[in-house]
């Protein structure tokens, strides 16, 4: 369920490459100091578990538009180390069949591996106090909720779900092709857009997307985004702008007097950066930002309104889908593990 299905080429390399390196590191730690004899004995069981996961992960459930993973069950059956290898094998095979990107194997292995590890640890704690079935169910619920939040958060933060949602402005952003007019009446701080930005070496094209009394929004096309941003930082600081926040080089904000400048690379389209100048009036400061947020929320709501499940729609439908998925996965894990324990105590 927490498996990320984004195709190759969408997530930035600095997300999936470290994930792959981390997986290699974990593998190194697993193999280091592992009893090879014991590991070999577990291979058939782990393979069986991988095959079961392979089947459950490749078939979306009909009653819920998600698929199970049974990662916690794998951890309970073969232990966290071998289960981690199983998860890696399953993700690799699924990726080779077009189910999520090949580059996402590391990230998916980490997320599902975390779900498995947390689930197993909680089960070990709980099974000392309560019986097998509730322990397995609770452990799966906690593990799955964690991994689900992580994968959802990661997708939203990196792919920028909110940013990817339809903005009215985006409909004509590139069609207009309107170049910034240097003689335009100056919005406070707009001299940076009109006078400084066009002179930077790495700017290929500037397009106005929106212009009002409180907001100026432009999109800059560049063949070298990093070079452009470095140039821009130097110019801004020279002009007296103050850095307010920077989550990474491609996203941040600056301020001067009563104007705030936001910039971010448009995710997935290399070479395009969106800039916004927002007028911060002391009385309307929060309102302006709220308006901006509200606009995004409106778009999000439009998309969400199209999601319907069990008579619910919007966020409620999304929550219901995930709740149903978590319930199914945890009860299935609990019952399978209980049945297995009943037949085979060891």
């Amino acid at each position: 369920m927490s498996h990320i299905h984004i195709p190759d080429g969408i997530l930035a390399w600095w997300i999936w490459v470290p994930a792959l390196i981390l997986v290699v590191g974990i593998l190194f730690m697993i193999f280091k100091g592992w009893n090879q004899e014991e590991a070999r004995r577990l291979v058939p069981l782990a393979a069986m578990m991988s095959a079961l996961m392979l089947i459950t992960m490749s078939v979306p459930l009909f009653i819920v538009p998600v698929h199970l993973t049974l990662a916690v069950l794998a951890g309970l059956m073969v232990g966290p180390k071998m289960a981690f290898l199983s998860i890696l094998v399953v993700n690799t095979i699924l990726a080779s069949l077009g189910h999520s990107g090949v580059t996402l194997v590391g990230l998916n292995t980490l997320i599902i591996g975390l779900e498995m590890f947390v689930g197993v640890m909680i089960f070990r704690l709980l099974s000392k106090i309560i019986s097998t079935l509730p322990s397995a169910i609770i452990a799966t619920v906690v593990g799955l909720s964690l991994s689900l939040s992580l994968s959802f958060g990661l997708v939203v933060a990196t792919v920028g779900l909110a940013e990817a949602l339809p903005h009215e402005e985006h409909d004509d952003e590139l069609n207009d092709g309107e170049i910034v007019d240097h003689n335009r009446s100056l919005f406070p701080g707009n001299e940076f857009f009109t006078l400084t930005l066009p002179t930077l070496n790495h700017v290929d094209k500037i397009t106005i997307v929106e212009e009002s009394d409180e907001l100026v929004k432009i999109i800059v096309e560049s063949h070298n985004v990093k070079g452009l941003l470095n140039e821009m930082f130097a110019e801004l600081e020279e002009l007296g702008w103050e850095k307010v926040g920077q989550s990474n080089i491609y996203k941040g904000s600056y301020t001067i007097d009563d104007v705030e400048l936001f910039y971010h690379e448009i995710v997935g389209s290399e070479g395009l950066i969106e800039f916004e100048l927002i007028l911060i009036d002391e009385d309307h400061d929060h309102d302006d930002h709220d308006d901006y947020d509200d606009h995004d929320h409106e778009d999000l709501e439009t998309i969400l309104s199209e999601i319907n499940y069990l008579g619910f729609s919007g966020w409620l439908a999304v929550i219901m889908i995930y709740l149903m998925g978590i319930t199914l996965e945890s009860t299935a894990t609990g019952f399978i593990y209980k049945s297995l324990k009943k037949v085979k105590k060891d």
Partner: protein, 233 residues
């Protein structure tokens, strides 16, 4: 799940792509995948896709099978692409082509190369335990699929499934899965015992048939290198 179909395709068909060396195909696939990842140009992706489509046809895959196999990446990426499409159609198209290209690269590889040969090549790089796990998983998958179809039939015949009793269904299906798992595990365990008796010590002796490097392999390498350079430029 199309693993069985792809396996049949890789083992029973003969084509120009089937005859290429496994290591050459792996390296070429990696190069083309890299080209798909780095390019932001729709025309380049269309060229790559056309070549991949042609290679899938060369690999004796029917158009019906290609469409069937393409459904997987398209289905799973549809939501994301749908969101992009409404805000930036060009970016949506780019993502769609990338998803399809990377899936076709992998399909053309696995549909023209026996899994055993891929595992044998992997054994040169990966720890033997992981390669063994791949091999055993591959075998276990077919055992499970066969047992599962029998089991589903039995559950239905004995009235173990009722659309209006979800909890009872979950309990029955979970018990059935547990039983299935145990049976399949016993079969796999027996196989492990046989392997151990025959001297298995944590490394399956995978023997890759080393075909001589021919100019045809060179053509494949040059083509993938060309695509890679094309994407870079």
């Amino acid at each position: 799940m199309h693993l069985a179909d792809i396996d049949y395709q890789a083992l029973s068909k003969k084509s120009w792509l089937h005859d290429r060396r496994t290591d050459v195909k792996l390296f070429s696939s990696a190069l083309i995948l890299l080209a798909v990842l780095i390019t932001q140009n729709i025309t380049t992706l269309v060229v790559i896709l056309s070549i991949l489509f042609f290679s899938l046809l060369i690999g004796k895959l029917s158009i019906k099978t290609i469409i069937h196999l393409s459904f997987f990446p398209l289905f799973f990426s549809s939501l994301f692409i749908g969101l992009l499409w409404s805000s930036n159609p060009q970016l949506g198209l780019l993502s769609l082509l990338k998803a399809l290209s990377s899936a076709w690269i992998m399909i053309s590889l696995v549909a023209s190369t026996a899994y055993v040969d891929i595992f044998a090549s992997m054994a040169k790089v990966f720890p033997s335990l992981i390669v063994d796990l791949f091999m055993f998983t591959y075998r276990a998958f077919f055992i499970l699929i066969e047992k599962m179809s029998d089991l589903i039939r039995i559950i239905k015949l004995r009235g173990g499934y009722h659309p209006y009793h979800p909890i009872r269904n979950i309990k029955n299906i979970s018990s059935a899965l547990a039983l299935l798992f145990l049976r399949a595990f016993e079969m796999n365990d027996r196989m492990y015992q046989i392997y151990t008796l025959r001297g298995y010590q944590g490394k399956l002796p995978l023997r890759e048939e080393q075909k001589p490097l021919t100019h045809h392999d060179g053509i494949l390498l040059l083509l993938s290198l060309g695509l890679m350079l094309g994407a870079l430029l």
